[in-house]
């Protein structure tokens, strides 16, 4: 296949950045999207130009490192997958593909297609955990968890922290990310003691990082590579009200 790629190039955080257009020949349908970018990047190096910078590591949809917006959609056209799982058989001869980094201000661009997502780490540091030191646990089967609760917790825990939710949201909200963690821990008895404090701290950190408010557009659910459901956002809203009421009385 021959494709036209319009790719965002930006030298560093303070550079204004611009789109560059590349003609890409010899694309095989069996290639992954990132492998196609490898080939392009290698050819740039051959010509003495700067390689293309894009974050990636596991290349199997689990580490959450890859982060490309393709034709305006975070992670591209495949539902329930990351861009590293996308394969070129999705495209046809002559297609033009526009490739950009995540576009949301709490994730500043570092270079080309790579962004800084440390805001997500700080939200977890604010309370996305259960306080328990190594060695202090009781026997695992002493805590019974109904299977349905364990499954719901797992649905939420599947979040890979890639940031597509915030990148897709018209308000730049990180609500699905925060909700996934809050809901995961709120569905387990182990999470109960810190339940109220957790949601208050995490939401407050999310606001401090400059993420917008959730107004139920549900774009996040549509692009989430793990198909995390917006019902977890309803859950975090209930958790938040419960905690806020508790903190008043």
């Amino acid at each position: 296949m021959i494709l036209t790629l319009r790719i965002w190039r930006q030298k560093h955080a303070r550079d204004k950045g611009r789109f560059e257009t590349y003609e890409m020949k010899g694309v095989s349908p069996d290639m992954s999207f990132l492998e196609m970018l490898d080939v392009l990047s290698d050819s740039l190096v051959d010509r003495g130009e700067d390689a293309l910078t894009f974050d990636n590591d596991c290349r199997e949809g689990i580490c959450g490192m890859c982060s490309l917006t393709i034709n305006g959609v975070p992670h591209g056209p495949d539902q329930g997958g990351t861009v590293c799982q996308l394969h070129m058989r999705r495209y046809k001869e002559g297609d033009t593909i526009t490739i950009e980094p995540w576009r949301v201000s709490p994730f500043p661009v570092l270079k080309d297609l790579a962004v800084d997502r440390s805001a997500f780490d700080r939200i977890i540091q604010a309370g996305g955990y259960i306080t328990t030191n190594a060695g202090s646990a009781v026997d695992a089967n002493a805590i019974l968890v109904p299977r349905a609760d364990a499954e719901t917790a797992m649905d939420a825990a599947a979040c890979i922290g890639c940031g597509a939710c915030a990148a897709s949201c018209p308000n730049g909200s990180a609500m699905l990310f925060v909700a996934a963690k809050v809901s995961h821990l709120a569905h387990l008895p182990q999470g109960a003691p810190e339940r109220a404090q957790r949601v208050l701290s995490m939401v407050s950190q999310m606001d401090q990082e400059g993420f917008g408010n959730c107004t139920n557009h549900s774009e996040c659910e549509a692009v989430c590579p793990k198909e995390i459901n917006v019902s977890h956002i309803a859950k975090i809203n209930r958790e938040f009200i419960r905690a806020a009421v508790k903190s008043i009385f």
Binding site: E35, C58, G64, G80, A126, I130, P146, A150, L185
Partner: protein, 635 residues
């Protein structure tokens, strides 16, 4: 050099208790005076950084990804072992210990393995307390599955994302310590050298991957948990960023590298599709619980699998290993697949593949049950191959997956360089010549959460805190070396990309030192690698500068280390004139093609010392008190 593993005396089952009791302690109010560097944020490193922080030590933790949550442990799919015996099926600490020593083909250190089995139960308790959503039964108790190389169900799992859930548990514990200021996390920071002062590990030199800044960090002890070196073969199931750099730099500073030739091939990966390929994707071994492996009986059979009747299929694992069948250990099933393909009975493009067929399980259990167990794996397979495994068998082929070799450590997980500890896949200690499925996650968490917190105190108690600062000459020297090397990489300005060298090295390693090895092939590799390395330093092209985010430069540095390390791996493979576990020398096999160990001459850990010229081999003899040396049979 005399290698002293410092194994506690006395009966096997009492060694760890004894060690814990006799070891020195650092009193609680003194802990905060000690600085510890942890390189790596996977299960081993993240677990260590969090646990040491919880104890009150001052910790700096480093990783090269943009967040500690992305360490390669995240990708583990199938599960984690523990001797809980929740299934009442005869499991015990002793059985897990026994299975692991046998599975490792009698090339691991018994005392370490026993400790691993002992602490395994506490790992599951801890993970549940942290909120890891393991699979459960309707009554609310934990569910288990069985894994290759075991006849009991002792594997705990969280759908097909066990590594992810465990790592996120560790990440949350680590985040708590970071939030509390006890651990300082340095993501996108790559360790490029170990600093040794008067024979003791006293710090590291790093490169900030965003700004390119070269920096020194001093500490009272250094813990490396930097994962495996699978990508020396270029294509592997590992994340593309996995590398040997940290371990190899420490090796050059005096740490011995043990058993580098013990590399594991995983039998169930998606076969190669073309030259562009950057990695191979693993299909979790848990699939072998319900999938049956076969090839056509006839050579060159091109019928679609559905058209081949049962009588014309060879379910070769069930035929050759009736008691373990499709769950035979990884090395054994990998070689069986290779043999079938070498005989011309492979399937799919290039005939480098065998079938993993769910037909019988689907009709026995129904689509829903299979979907519940493996949906994300079937989905992953379809994304990559475009084929639906509910309708036709998967095609699989072995690929490089895990590296048992690593830096040599004693019972305390300390290398021969005092103050340098090595944990997780980066060390060599627990899996011998072959690792059993679901045991790497167990080892990472054991090392990080339940071993290092005890054993590091012994060293620290004998060391005054903050003795050496970054103003010491050794730091300056090391910084200069690191900067010079970066400058050298940028100034070659040749014609080939670092990736092209990596690919060539990988292919060479796979062909000469992969699933099967022989003297002639290994000898030729020993000539080809130095030549390739020489060409690299004359002809590599690294564009961009050293002062910003430059993925080409990062890659070139790692490839340069692989080009040195590959030679060590091959040297180890040529020296070990026997077949054991993942190391299969064609000269040493039985008539049926099974591996032939030579316990008389090779029952040792081969630990290599860096000299700049020919490396020197040091041997740690392995003694087996509990498990009797036997031919490893899975028939």
């Amino acid at each position: 050099m005399k290698l002293d593993a410092k194994i506690p005396s006395g009966p096997m089952a009492g060694k760890w208790e004894k060690r814990k009791f006799e070891g020195k302690l650092v009193n609680p109010s003194n802990k905060r005076k000690y600085n510890i560097i942890v390189v790596g944020s996977g299960l081993a490193g993240g677990g260590a950084a969090a646990s040491l922080g919880e104890l009150g030590y001052n910790v700096d933790c480093f990783c090269f990804q943009d967040s500690s949550r992305r360490a390669h442990s995240i990708a583990a799919q199938g599960g984690i072992n523990a001797a809980k015996n929740y299934q009442n099926d005869g499991d015990s600490v002793y059985r897990l210990f026994y299975d692991t020593v046998k599975g490792g083909d009698f090339r691991s250190r018994e005392a370490n393995v026993h400790r691993l089995a002992e602490v395994s139960a506490a790992i599951i308790d801890q993970c549940v307390a942290m909120g890891v959503p393991f699979a459960r039964e309707y009554g609310g108790t934990l569910a288990n599955r069985s894994f290759g190389g075991a006849q009991v169900s002792r594997t705990f799992y969280a759908r097909g994302q066990t590594g992810q859930q465990l790592l996120l548990g560790v990440y949350s514990a680590l985040s708590r310590q970071i939030g509390a200021g006890q651990v300082r996390m340095h993501p996108r920071t790559e360790m490029l050298d170990l600093v040794v002062v008067d024979g003791h590990a006293k710090g590291i030199v790093t490169r900030d991957l965003i700004t390119g800044k070269i920096e020194s960090w001093a500490a009272d002890a250094v813990v490396l948990a930097t994962g495996g070196y699978g990508p020396v073969f270029y294509l592997s199931t590992n994340a593309v960023g996995n590398n040997v750099t940290a371990a190899y730099r420490a090796h050059k500073k005096g740490a011995l590298f043990a058993n580098p030739c013990y590399t594991q091939i995983h039998p169930t990966c998606i076969p190669l599709s073309g030259d562009h390929q950057s990695k191979l994707t693993l299909m979790s071994e848990s699939l072998r619980n319900d999938g049956r492996i076969w090839v056509p009986k006839k050579q060159g059979d091109t019928r679609t699998p559905g058209d081949i009747p049962d009588a014309e299929r060879d379910y070769y694992l069930e035929r050759m290993y009736p008691s373990f069948g499709n769950l035979a250990p990884r090395d054994i099933s990998s070689r069986a697949a290779k043999r079938a393909c070498d005989e011309g009975r492979g399937v799919g493009p290039g005939r480098l593949g065998v079938y993993l067929d769910f037909r019988d399980a689907l009709s026995r259990l129904g689509d829903d049950t299979i979907r519940q167990r493996y949906d994300n794996l079937f989905d992953m397979y379809e994304r990559i191959t475009g084929e639906n495994a509910y309708n036709m068998p998967m095609r699989i082929y072995p690929a490089i997956h895990y590296t048992m070799g690593g830096l040599w450590v004693d019972y305390d997980l300390m290398s021969n360089v005092p103050g340098l500890y090595v944990l997780g896949e980066a060390n060599f200690s627990d899996h011998g010549a072959n690792r059993l499925g679901a045991s790497a996650l167990m080892q990472g968490l054991a090392d990080g959460c339940f071993v290092i917190p005890y054993t590091i105190a012994e060293y620290l108690a004998g060391t005054a805190p903050g003795e050496v600062g970054t103003d010491h000459d050794e730091f300056k020297k090391s910084q200069n070396e690191v900067s010079d090397r970066i400058r050298a990489l940028l100034s070659v300005n040749g014609k080939r990309s670092a990736t092209s060298f990596h690919r060539e090295l990988g292919l060479l390693m796979w062909e000469k030192c992969g699933m099967a090895r022989n003297e002639a092939g290994l000898k030729s590799a020993l000539e080809m690698i130095p030549a390739l390395r020489e060409e690299f330093w004359e002809n590599v092209k690294v564009t961009g500068s050293g002062n910003d985010l430059n993925s080409e430069l990062e890659r070139a540095g790692r490839v340069a280390d692989f080009l040195e390390f590959g030679e060590l791996l091959v040297t180890d493979a040529i020296t070990r004139e026997e077949s054991c576990g993942g190391h299969f020398r064609e000269e040493y096999q039985t008539e049926e093609g099974e591996a032939m160990r030579d316990d008389e001459n090779f029952s040792f850990v081969g630990a290599w010392e860096y000299t700049g010229e020919t490396p020197i081999l040091h041997k740690e003899n392995l003694e087996f008190e509990e498990v009797h040396l036997a031919v490893r049979s899975y028939k």
